[in-house]
Symmetry: C2
């Protein structure tokens, strides 16, 4: 197993307006894309990797001038890795509205000549999938061997199977859910409130004020981070350990967990865009493919044609195994072929990004099978 | 069963300095107190009720000029109620540093003539218990029939059993924990960060600026509120229901749960003091009686003499039944007499405040037994 090595992102530009679910549309946008491995002659070995909140098109490898900037799923994608780039042509696309290079709220709105800010349209998982399909069109890929993602990325994979049933042979949905729970939405809304009420947010137009709603972003990230970790894992890593060994009787950093979370929050607010945070959490909230079918997920998935692989993690309380099982059940109702693994792992929701032999072997075995299929 | 009816709080004043765990001390303070029922001749029928974060000395009944301002545990305390004021003399004390009448950060610091603000000393559960003991002294109560509380109130009851083993015959600890988990501390710290980083907080001296850190308090309360409710209960009450029935594709109130939480947050920031929120969450974080015994709770409870009653609620994920069982185990290790009930209830942590026949009957039966004891 080795890394895909040096990679280089490319911008795909789109002039034609993309119609969005909200009724708005966006023109003159670009998406950042990375690819790894070689597209075969009949263009049948492409795998699309969809990213979650805090990730991008940079799935694997590193940049020539940034050797430490390693792709977010580098343990999953590469030569000899579970998604083997010796066999598959793997594509990462930064979603519309993200803050990692694709057109987003911080870019100039051609209609006004100013940053979009609050005017950037609210996008949905389905909008992202339609934008990704245009990238596939440009690459001449009519059908993916697989569309794959974890968490919010898994929602995109699931949406692909519904919106473009003919365009993927396999749909790989990891640590995901058919829709957010009330509690999931509640946590998202508190995070949004922290950003929206930060005086430095300026109604989304903070770019013009040369400030960033750092405090709001920090609190939002701290909330998110707590929900990504398992209670037990947090307890094992930090316990009730104190920075100095003694109670300080003040409001500075005291417990190690405070130090860790505040650091994570500060780091996040250094690079993440507040408008992007808002729009991605809304995309999460909105995702609910069963909504157009009276809440019946089986009906929502009736038109799918792919084979499915799902995985969940026992200590994930954000998107618990129960939520994956809802998808499995709905697929089985439709007599779809489904492989499902519930991985006993201590690291909560974040487990989908981490090293875990059982998990990675499960994915490897599945992609080995895909590679051996005759198309 | 009827209400205790019209009640009237009284201020207990203390001139002598109270030595605090932090090393600081406080003088010239007062505590607000309410009592219900009659103290018997040998002063053996007193029950102290300890309150949690968002409550006060106003445990039962209502005020003559505020008939709708009903005590927070009115379903528990009153004539014929589980803690029967026909038998017991019940006392509610507002804790030092609270914002419901007892001396707190919003009061004048006699040393400076200005509101304490950031200078109000950080207090601990043990400090509160020592302050409560002084109230008992003034009332001539040498031994309580019971000291009782839920959540943070349960911590105070437990601390009573350790600090003043001779001064209570029964210790009633509901929906509580021997110490906060790492995750509990994490949620508290995010809430504090929301307040501390609100520009209207002014380092705790917002009184002088005639503002209130409303946004920080609102976010803090929203976070807290999510942890008080169970995931299932929230799902049942609010689901994914939308205010208008349609997605709005914006950042206003959209889901019913958002409306509910923002309303709760706004209401809270209308009346709760930001400095009080900080100090109470710190008191929660600090509570850990086993800390002085190498983490051994059995040793920490070895000197207790009371009989114990504990109750927990199955869907409470803030202080889960497992946490109560840790206390029960440590008491059993010490051969203390313990009654413990794990109540199957859907309402999460908040269940300890709500109507639930099995729960209230369990408390009633326990207090019936106390009433029949010869002292």
């Amino acid at each position: 197993m080795s890394s895909v090595g040096i990679v280089k992102p490319q911008a795909f530009r789109f002039d034609a307006p993309l119609q969005l679910q909200s009724g708005a549309s966006i023109s003159d946008y670009h998406l950042m894309v990375e690819t790894y491995g070689q597209l075969n002659a009949d263009k049948s070995n492409a795998v699309l990797i969809c990213h979650a909140l805090n990730a991008s098109h940079h799935v694997a490898g590193y940049y020539e001038d940034q050797p430490k900037n390693i792709g977010w799923w580098d343990n999953m994608v590469g030569p000899g890795k579970p998604v083997d780039t010796n066999r598959f042509f793997v594509i990462g696309i930064n979603n519309l509205g993200s803050c990692f290079g694709s057109t987003g709220p911080m870019h100039l709105n051609p209609a006004t000549g100013k940053p979009y800010g609050a005017d950037f349209p609210v996008v949905t998982v389905e909008d992202w999938v339609r934008a990704q399909a245009r990238v596939a069109d440009q690459l001449g890929i009519t059908q993916f061997a697989a569309v794959m993602g974890g968490s919010l990325g898994g929602m995109q994979a699931l949406a692909w199977s519904i919106l473009f049933p003919e365009r993927l042979r396999h749909c790989v949905v990891i640590a995901s859910t058919p829709k957010l729970s009330t509690q999931n939405i509640a946590f998202n809304d508190v995070a949004r409130q922290a950003i929206l009420t930060d005086p430095d947010f300026h109604g989304g137009d903070f770019y013009a004020h040369k400030v960033v709603p750092r405090n709001g972003l920090k609190v939002a990230r701290m909330i998110g981070h707590i929900t990504y970790l398992s209670d037990d894992d947090m307890a094992e890593k930090f316990g009730r350990d104190l920075k100095t060994g003694e109670y300080q009787f003040g409001y500075g950093v005291e417990f190690e967990i405070e130090s860790y979370l505040r650091y994570q929050g500060d780091k996040f607010s250094d690079y993440f865009d507040a408008n992007t945070y808002l729009l991605i959490t809304k995309a999460l909230d909105y995702f609910d493919p069963a909504r157009d079918y009276d809440g019946d997920l089986s009906k929502a998935l009736a038109g799918t044609k792919a084979q499915f692989m799902l995985a969940s993690f026992t200590t994930d309380w954000r998107f618990s195994p129960e939520r994956s099982r809802e998808i499995v059940k709905a697929l089985v109702d439709n007599q779809r072929q489904v492989s499902y693994a519930e991985i006993d792992a201590p690291h909560g929701h974040d487990a989908f990004l981490l090293e875990d032999a059982r998990y990675l072997n499960f994915v490897r075995a599945y992609f080995d099978r895909i590679a051996k299929e005759s198309v």
